[in-house]
């Protein structure tokens, strides 16, 4: 009986899939968006990409005569990487997501994909990555849509000035994932005014709509920690034990979303703990971001004002406090006061609305060069927010049924689409 039932189920499944083959051919394996976000794309589902490309790492001074704070002495220059083709070719800039490095897993995957497709590739860190904040942020207060775009544009111009002696470029393109996708929209908008690159196309991959909505969601994810946020340390200890297991085998030691897959496998987590893990990984980013910004501007947020940290200062206590605070704390106690001081007419809700793709909706509606690649079940979007992309971008938005937040980026179809948008 059981067997017959199972057989019937298989047959029905087969019949359904065969019937709806065109609609259902997207077979990215995870339908739980949290698992997708953490696990990403298993190897057998990934696009085939070259293992090695001739990628070079470089550093550049962005602000001459600017000294980093003593405690961050090592971040005096901005790090980036590039891979160039032999002859003339189009060039694509890649922008990493929240707290992401130019050399993070997703950027490296994209670099390989675009390089294989015949593009020169320049990989950039997120404006929220510590090295970028210290070396390339004009204000030292990252997360401002328009200001971050200014910083990124400056960096792109400087890197291009260096490259153009040796590299022949036919057209420029720009793309980024997560916050990097959000940045991409504002950088493209800025380029319409500055006209240095005249980007031929831009692709936003899994961007947030309103930054404040997304950071609120991410902050709340830490509440899934077993026993509540007061057990953060216990949970963290367990995570760190897992991380240290991974650390032995890992090919890099970057603390951020990229570490998640290995952690997930090593720790055998339950579903709600997966959400907590995502929250914690973003907490690692927010802790560094807020503390770095605090130190640069001497706000008195975590570090007392007028206290100068030396190269040898113990950061233990600051680290503990920083990991207890979220992105929204940074928004209310650092970000908003900083921009309010510059423009007294600014209101809190006004600033929240301004840090949003909706703030430039009219531009996005008409910008034929900008396309979107997103997922219906992205966990950094509030319910219904995904419709913004359908409404504003129409045909230019490709929305996959699953994949969570950036989980399906390395999946065959997604990589093909990503490259296809710029190859048109």
């Amino acid at each position: 009986m059981r067997r017959a039932l199972a057989l019937a189920r298989v047959l029905i499944a087969f019949w359904v899939t065969a019937g709806g083959a065109a609609a259902q051919s997207y077979d990215y394996p995870f339908s739980d968006p949290y698992v997708a976000t953490v696990v990403g794309t298993p190897k057998e589902y990934q696009a085939e990409l070259p293992k090695q490309i001739p990628i070079e790492q470089h550093s550049i001074s962005i602000f001459k005569d600017r000294e980093p704070p003593e405690v961050f002495w090592y971040d005096d220059q901005l790090h980036y990487s590039y891979a160039v083709q032999d002859g003339p070719a189009p060039l694509v800039f890649l922008i990493a997501g929240t707290g992401g490095s130019y050399a993070g897993e997703k950027n490296r995957m994209m670099a390989r994909a675009f390089y294989q497709a015949g593009f020169h590739v320049v990989s950039l860190s997120s404006p929220t990555f510590m090295n970028f904040i210290v070396a390339a942020s004009e204000t030292g207060v990252p997360g401002h849509a328009y200001q971050d775009a200014e910083d990124l544009y400056r960096v792109m111009e400087r890197i291009w000035a260096r490259l153009k002696k040796d590299v022949q470029v036919t057209d420029f393109y720009v793309t980024g994932y997560s916050l990097g996708g959000f940045n991409t929209a504002f950088v493209t908008w800025l380029d319409e005014r500055r006209k240095v690159f005249r980007f031929k196309k831009a692709l936003l991959i899994n961007p947030p709509v309103r930054l404040y909505s997304s950071i609120s969601l991410l902050d709340r994810m830490t509440q899934n920690i077993p026993g509540g946020v007061d057990n953060f340390n216990r949970f963290f200890e367990r995570l760190m034990k897992g991380f240290s297991e991974i650390y032995k085998r890992s090919d890099q030691l970057e603390m951020g979303p990229d570490t998640l897959y290995r952690a997930y496998k090593a720790l055998h987590l339950k579903d709600e703990q997966v959400a907590a893990l995502i929250g914690v990984s973003f907490r690692l980013s927010s802790a560094t971001l807020a503390f770095t910004s605090d130190v640069i501007n001497d706000f008195g947020y975590i570090k007392p004002k007028n206290v100068h940290l030396t190269k040898n200062t113990s950061l233990d206590v600051y680290s503990r406090v920083a990991h207890r605070l979220g992105f929204t704390d940074y928004f209310h106690y650092v970000f908003y006061p900083y921009f309010k001081a510059k423009d007294p007419s600014l209101t809190r809700s006004g600033l929240i609305e301004e840090m949003s793709l909706a703030d430039m909706e009219d531009y996005l509606r008409g910008a034929q060069k900008i396309e979107v690649m997103h997922n219906q079940d992205d966990i950094i979007l509030q319910p219904g927010e995904i419709d913004f992309f359908r409404r504003v971008f129409g045909e230019r938005a490709t929305i996959y049924p699953k994949g969570g937040h950036c989980g399906n980026m390395a999946y065959r179809d997604n990589v093909a689409h990503m490259v296809g948008v710029f190859k048109q």
Binding site: E237, A287, T288, Y301, V307, T313
Partner: protein, 254 residues
């Protein structure tokens, strides 16, 4: 000649004294009236909570100084040497050299297994050594791993841990990196053991032995992906300290 040697020695001594002096202070510098921050530790943290990140590090200033030295050594000496080594050595030779050194380390693992009273692990390791030394042509080919013989790693620091000796304060060793007092003693013992075995087995002159040690260090570095100040964390020193200590605890428990 003799004088310059002496001067150099005096210089080195001075350097160490200077390190100790400079390295002492982990306190920040006050540059005006100190105002309580918006989120002071006293409000945010519960003093009764035990923090996972607490690692006994009474010599933090010194350790942080060495950490920076290691970064510079890495950047200007170690990594360039590694790149040259990788560029001039054919991949096959690189692999052979790596296997050769690992085979010698396996011998020290074997000794440590015996010291820890772990016959099972000792037998596995001995099997490895026999395969690799005979069919593997003196260790150049890793036959054992091809045959799925596992590769346990036991060092003298772990042996001391198994004997119930505590880690002692956290210690960043020059060039070597994160360690503890126990780890440092273990490292020294293993180093003597490995070079002793190596030089006894293949009968080396002093300069040859030293060359091999340099080569072995480069080989080890080439297999550690970690790069200083590239984690993107403002708290990298703390994180590395925590990771190292947790990992060592786990290694010893294992």
């Amino acid at each position: 000649m003799g004088k310059s040697m002496e001067a150099r020695r005096a210089g080195l001594l001075g350097f160490i004294v200077l390190l100790a002096a400079v390295g002492c202070s982990t306190a920040p510098v006050q540059e005006g009236p100190v105002v309580e921050p918006i989120f002071p530790a006293s409000k945010v943290l519960d003093p009764r909570t035990h923090y996972a990140s607490e690692v006994y590090d009474p010599w933090e200033g010194f350790n942080r100084t060495i950490y920076r030295f290691n970064y510079r050594f890495d950047r200007y000496v170690f990594l360039p040497a590694m790149n040259v080594y990788k560029a001039v050595t054919p991949d096959v030779a690189e692999k052979g050299i790596h296997n050769f050194f690992r085979n010698i380390v396996d011998v020290s693992t074997l000794i440590n297994c015996i010291l820890q009273g772990r016959p099972d692990t000792a037998v596995v390791t001995l099997t490895r050594i026999i395969w690799n030394t005979t069919i593997g042509l003196g260790g150049l080919i890793n036959v054992a791993s091809a045959l799925d013989v596992p590769r346990p790693e036991e060092d003298f620091g772990q042996t001391l841990g198994r004997w119930g000796i505590g880690a002692g304060p956290y210690l960043v060793l020059p060039i070597v990196g994160p360690s503890s007092v126990r780890g440092a003693i273990g490292f020294g013992a293993d180093f003597l053991m490995v070079t002793g075995i190596r030089d006894w087995a293949i009968d080396l002159k002093t300069w040859q032995s030293m060359t091999l040690t340099v080569l072995q260090s480069i080989d080890i570095r080439a297999h550690i992906p970690f790069r200083y100040y590239e984690t993107g964390s403002a708290f990298e020193y703390d994180m590395v300290r925590w990771l190292y200590s947790t990992k060592r605890e786990l290694d010893i428990e294992k």
